[in-house]
Amino acid sequence: MKKLALLLSTGVIAALAHAPNVAAQTEIAWWHAMDAELGKKLEEIANGFNESQSEFKVVPSYKGTYPETLTAAIAAFRANEQPAIVQVFEVGTGTMMAAKGAVYPVYQLMADNGEPWDPAGFLAPVTGYYSDTDGNILSMPFNSSTPIMYYNKDVFEAAGLDRETPPKTWAELEAMSRQIMESGAAPCGFTSGWITWVQTENLSAIHDQPYGTLENGFGGLGTEFTFNGPVQVKHWDNLKKWADEGLFEYGGPVGGGDAPPKFYAQECAIYMNSSASRAGVINNSKEFEVGFAPLPYYDDVTTDPKNSIIGGATLWALNGKDPEVYKGVAQFFTYLSQPEVQASWHQFTGYLPITNAAYELGQEQNYYADNPGSDIAIQQITRGTPTANSKGVRFGNLTQARTVVDEEFEAMLAGTKTAQEALDAAVERGNQILRDFEAANQ
């Protein structure tokens, strides 16, 4: 008994001693989907904020992949255990925007807490994609990327190509891939991550082809997919042809997990994927030199390729927390948009600098001059004037719709469907998914 009493009293004293410390700091839970190097860098940012002030403490937790993080947050919201901040990938944007009661729009959050907020400071494609129909930004841009092309300079040279001249058009890419294969420099020409995002959604944007009605879904829930147009069909047809010939190797569904090893192992000479793969590519290509280039285009379709579209994620503030917490969230968002924080994140990861100030800071630091190719993504996503077809795609349940696109692409590769049949089927099944979403959100 005595022992127990003693234990209890020490416990109370310890609790008292710690109490003021605990009470002073408001914890802000931040759920994210950044693993490995990206996750460490993200924690660094949170620590930077925590050290910059003593009132709030941002606590990041890794919740798995993007879909897993989104699902976890939704489940938590339903159980009233949601985090204050959750990182949601661009595909989930439609879902989050439709969930009006669940999210605390960032423009409102900043205004309510008296934090500075200037949407004009963000890169135009970022603002364009994450604004609602009234032009308000609903979530805090954090990691935005766009697909680019990586190529193996050494293999190019071994194949008798110019190591500094990557292909500009798909015709050139086809010819070069064939030369690489025939010369034996590498067994495969090119591979790609994200068939959906890179070879379908971005392809449509770059060639100014509609992906869906109502401005690619920006205009409302009644939208329908239209990505079975002639350009997409032609491209898928080519991919099938090239796959049969061995010029193109398929890297698997969703993000295409088999694609990066094919490039790292020098099996495929060209690799298309997110600009945020840059850190990984550089790390894994110690044995050869990597070149960076914009995505190719069909010069018989357009001579003026449009901007590519955005991927990556934003931070959403979820409803249902104390005002004190939101004050901290707002301050944290202000910290995040500082050019130094942004520039460091961008330069480390290959994500886009989301503010103009961060881009300018990088220029002042001579970062782009010192790291050739590091600004390809920015140039590609900001080139020309965006059209309704090139400002992005925003649909509800897009994760499911993308699964359908992957499945139909695989059916085409297996030879059970032609490109036209596969895309027609993807559009038809995708529209069903959109109708479900519309019905559930009315």
Partner: protein
């Protein structure tokens, strides 16, 4: 040989002893099952703001969806193949081990090991061995003239998941078959041997019938294993692809519910799955058990 009946005077104690088990069943099985039943009649947005009661709409949509019907037949192929393959191989191994006199302990231990491996790890192992890019199996197969690519070829993918799922289950079946074989009276086998029955005849007319309770039990367990427990394995190897070739029912429940956030449809699918399993088990007990000799 009727055992003497023991009578406990306490009327409450038996129920008290049952309470923990009942509580676990209610909280972790019955309650979620009822929840699923409820949401299968509803259409709901992911966050649960708008819920509409839609009667059988979710079910109706399922059965006009060719992908769902396809998933049903894929599940049948998968469950049947896994059950047959893993039970046959396990029985062969068990009979073999039973005949080995000296080292059968060692073989038994080694053969049981795979069962201790978690399904996801099994998936990763096989995924790694059969990876079209970096795996050893496609490399060897290519040398033998087989172009293995389970990323594109649906049949290859199905073969892969069947092999992986069976490999893991063989251990479990093996253990039960070994135990079953050991309870076959040696005198019967010896008597048959004296009457001139060869090893095959002895197996089919004496050992196999006497093993039937074990076989029957394993049949049910394996069916349930293939239909429910292989989720992690599918997730780690093919994710239901390519083009839904390995999208078995339980995996489709997960992708539609957790990835696609379509809770109504996902619940309806899990209810269908529940009905299938109840029906299968009922049929097995009703018709197969009659033929089993205990």
């Amino acid at each position: 040989m009727q055992a003497k009946r023991t009578i406990f005077p306490n009327k409450i104690l038996p129920y008290m002893l049952l309470v923990p088990q009942l509580a676990v069943t209610l909280i972790f099985f019955i309650w979620p099952a009822l929840q699923a039943l409820k949401s299968s009649f509803e259409r709901e947005d992911p966050f649960g703001f708008h819920t509409t009661f839609v009667w059988f709409e979710n079910y109706r949509r399922l059965f006009i969806d060719p992908n769902y019907v396809g998933s049903l037949s894929k599940t049948a192929v998968f469950a049947f193949s896994v059950t047959v393959l893993s039970m046959t191989l396990a029985l062969v191994l068990a009979v073999a081990v039973n005949r080995v006199l000296r080292t059968n302990r060692l073989y038994t231990t080694l053969l049981v090991w795979p069962y201790a491996v978690a399904p996801v790890v099994v998936g990763i192992l096989w995924w790694f061995m059969f990876n079209p890019t970096i795996g050893i199996a496609p490399y060897l197969l290519r040398a033998a003239g087989v172009d293995w690519n389970h990323r594109i070829d649906g049949t290859d993918a199905m073969i892969l998941v069947i092999i992986a799922a069976s490999w893991k289950q063989i251990s479990y079946n093996f253990l039960f078959f070994v135990a079953g074989l050991q309870s076959v009276p040696q005198s019967l086998i010896e008597a048959a041997a004296i009457d001139g029955a060869g090893p095959f005849k002895r197996f089919w007319t004496i050992v196999f019938p006497l093993l039937s309770p074990t076989t029957f039990f394993l049949l049910i367990v394996n069916m349930n294993y293939a239909m429910f427990d292989t989720f992690g394995l599918i997730d780690a190897t093919t994710q239901g692809g390519p083009a839904q070739a390995t999208n078995i029912l339980v995996y489709k429940v997960y992708t539609d519910g957790f990835i696609g956030l379509n809770i109504g449809s996902s619940s309806a699918q899990s209810v269908v799955l529940m009905i299938i399993v109840i029906a299968l088990t009922a049929i097995q007990f009703r018709y197969v058990e009659r033929r089993v000799q205990y």
